[in-house]
């Protein structure tokens, strides 16, 4: 029973990582850059929802707030690319990485200025509701996280694998010049993917905030999600989920069975070991160059 409980909550926990990791992978898949502000996007999305729905603020119905927050973050993502990132088109990835790190500073400041620096709880109908199956306890929030993450992963996977737009997104990350030669509007595609990742980040944020609480530094969680995406094979959507689940599962088991002082290092230890065994992640996205 113990173990089952650990597995179930590990899975739910891992899905949160996976959900944030999806946002990383989306951007990477279409632009091949890494958005270090992804965690902050999540935080911002959660705060926007909270601003709409919490009684202290606007007190709107929860689901309406979610929809509005998702829409706002989508537009914000699009505009961000249009106004800022587009000017970096074709520049080295590492410059984009630094840019997103700096963007994180700004987002955290803005969130702090609007909603304050203290943790707040999202007044969400899915928080604090528990379902029991025998001795197994499962939060409503956890069930939601698992369902939404799995659905989103499948949806996005087929979007990239099957639809013309999805393949075009992959194409424009692999060779921007060639994508242009084919008439793919690469820049617009970038904006679209930033919008999409804003949306995914908001969904992650809502579920995350429902599981606990949110403050402006909550985005730092993004780093662990990033690591999860990398061990899954950066660029692979199922990989992101897989990586998230691994990290999510290692955590409770290490905490349960490892001595204090060592347990918290296990996720990172596993990470290193996995990378040594599979240098390009579990579902490797790296192709050896043919010469």
């Amino acid at each position: 029973m113990d173990i089952l409980q650990l597995i179930v909550s590990g899975l739910a926990n891992g899905c949160v990582y996976g959900l944030i990791a999806l946002g990383f992978v989306l951007i990477y898949k279409a632009t091949e850059s890494v958005n270090f502000a992804q965690g902050d996007f999540m935080m911002l999305g959660a705060f926007i929802t909270l601003g709409f729905t919490n009684a202290d603020y606007m007190g709107l119905p929860f689901w309406l707030s979610c929809a509005m927050a998702i829409a706002i973050m989508g537009v914000l993502g699009y505009l961000l690319d249009l106004v800022v990132l587009r000017r970096m088109f074709g520049q080295s990835q590492v410059a984009v990485v630094i840019l997103t790190i700096a963007l994180g500073f700004v987002i955290r400041f803005v969130a702090g200025a609007i909603w304050g620096h203290e943790p707040q709880s999202l007044e969400s109908p899915i928080a604090g509701v528990e379902l029991r199956f025998g001795g197994l306890a499962l939060g409503m929030d956890e069930i939601w996280v698992i369902i939404v993450t799995v659905l989103l992963t499948i949806l996005l996977y087929f979007f990239f694998a099957r639809t013309k737009l999805g393949v075009a997104m992959q194409a424009s990350s692999q060779n921007q010049l060639a994508a242009y030669y084919m008439g793919i509007p690469v820049k617009r595609i970038h904006s679209m993917i930033w919008a999409l990742s804003g949306i995914v980040a908001t969904i992650a944020g809502i579920l995350f905030a429902s599981k606990g609480s949110i403050d402006p530094t909550a985005g730092l969680l993004g780093i662990k999600a990033f690591a999860a995406a990398v061990i899954g094979g950066f660029g692979s959507l199922p990989g992101a989920l897989l990586g998230g689940l691994i990290v999510g599962l290692v955590e409770p088991f290490a905490a349960r069975y490892m001595p204090a002082g060592y347990s918290q290092i296990f996720p990172y230890l596993i990470l290193i070991i996995m990378l040594i065994v599979r240098p390009h992640g579990i579902l490797s996205q790296i192709q050896t160059k043919k010469v």
Binding site: K164, V167, A168, Q170, A171, Q174, N175, L177, A178, A179, Y180, Y181, M182, G183, I184, P185, V186, K187, Q285, Q287, K289, K290
Partner: protein
């Protein structure tokens, strides 16, 4: 779409392009008439690739105009240029390495939505290059050099262009295929009225298929004329067709070299 057959489909005027401080083309003017095959000859580094890149919008010119059916397109985004029916088959096989061969070809048809016709065109490409059909699901990055070149050309065909800019299409192809490529070019031109602008090191074949030719040297057009006439030109024969006398060759070979110390 009625067109004045004499008005050029593509007209380039006084075009200048730079790489940072380096001027790569220096005031090039040329025109391509509808339904023609025009070839641009020139030595290495003459600026042929730069010229094509500037036309297709992946480079912005510093000066000059590019007119497609009379409207200026210089400096516009490359995808907009493709949407107007100009496709550029680039030098050096810019394929999508982690997509399959079939996905690569599908991307060629990105701007189109006539599904039935796309499928038919795909079959046509497979017909031209059977090896691509065989390797439909292979990741394009693992194809051999020549196979990648076939894919690049095939992908260009999938856009159903009105005008094709071909940059060294025969690069790395076997002699058998070089012959085929030029047959395909001629057929497309004759049967589907696709206009072509062709850059080739293999000047001999290029002049054979082309109607008209330009010679680009150090970023300037130095000669132009009907392909037939160019073929006869002594200079062209000497510098581009390799018809030199042995003695000259020998001289070149033993020419005094300065040594740098």
């Amino acid at each position: 779409m009625k067109q004045d057959t004499n008005a050029p489909l593509l007209k380039v005027d006084n075009l200048e392009s730079f790489y940072g401080p380096i001027m790569a083309i220096r005031g090039v003017s040329l025109e391509v008439k509808e339904g023609q095959i025009v070839t641009v000859l020139g030595a290495n580094g003459a600026g042929k690739t730069t010229l094509l890149k500037t036309i297709s919008g992946v480079m912005d010119p510093e000066k000059g105009t590019v007119r497609l059916q009379g409207s200026e397109i210089q400096g516009s985004a490359p995808d907009a240029v493709v949407n107007r029916g100009v496709v550029h088959v680039p030098e050096g096989r810019e394929i999508f390495p982690i997509l399959t061969v079939e996905e690569n070809l599908k991307m060629g048809a990105y701007t189109r939505s006539d599904h039935a016709q796309i499928a038919a065109d795909m079959e046509l490409v497979y017909d031209y290059f059977p090896i691509l059909k065989e390797r439909r699901t292979q990741e394009a990055g693992t194809l051999s050099g020549g196979q990648q070149q076939m894919l690049a050309i095939g992908r260009g065909l999938m856009t159903k262009p009105r005008i094709m800019l071909l940059d060294e299409p025969s690069l790395g192809l076997s002699p058998l295929l070089v012959g085929e490529i030029f047959t395909i070019i001629r057929r497309l031109n004759e049967e589907q009225n696709v206009t072509m602008m062709l850059v080739e090191q293999n000047a001999k074949v290029a002049l054979e298929v082309a109607h008209y030719g330009y010679v680009l040297e150090l970023g300037r057009i130095v000669m132009s004329g009907e392909a037939k006439k160019l073929q006869q030109s002594k200079d062209i024969q000497e510098f581009y067709l390799g018809a030199q006398q042995e003695s000259q060759r020998g001289q070149r070979r033993w020419k005094q070299r300065k040594t740098w110390r």
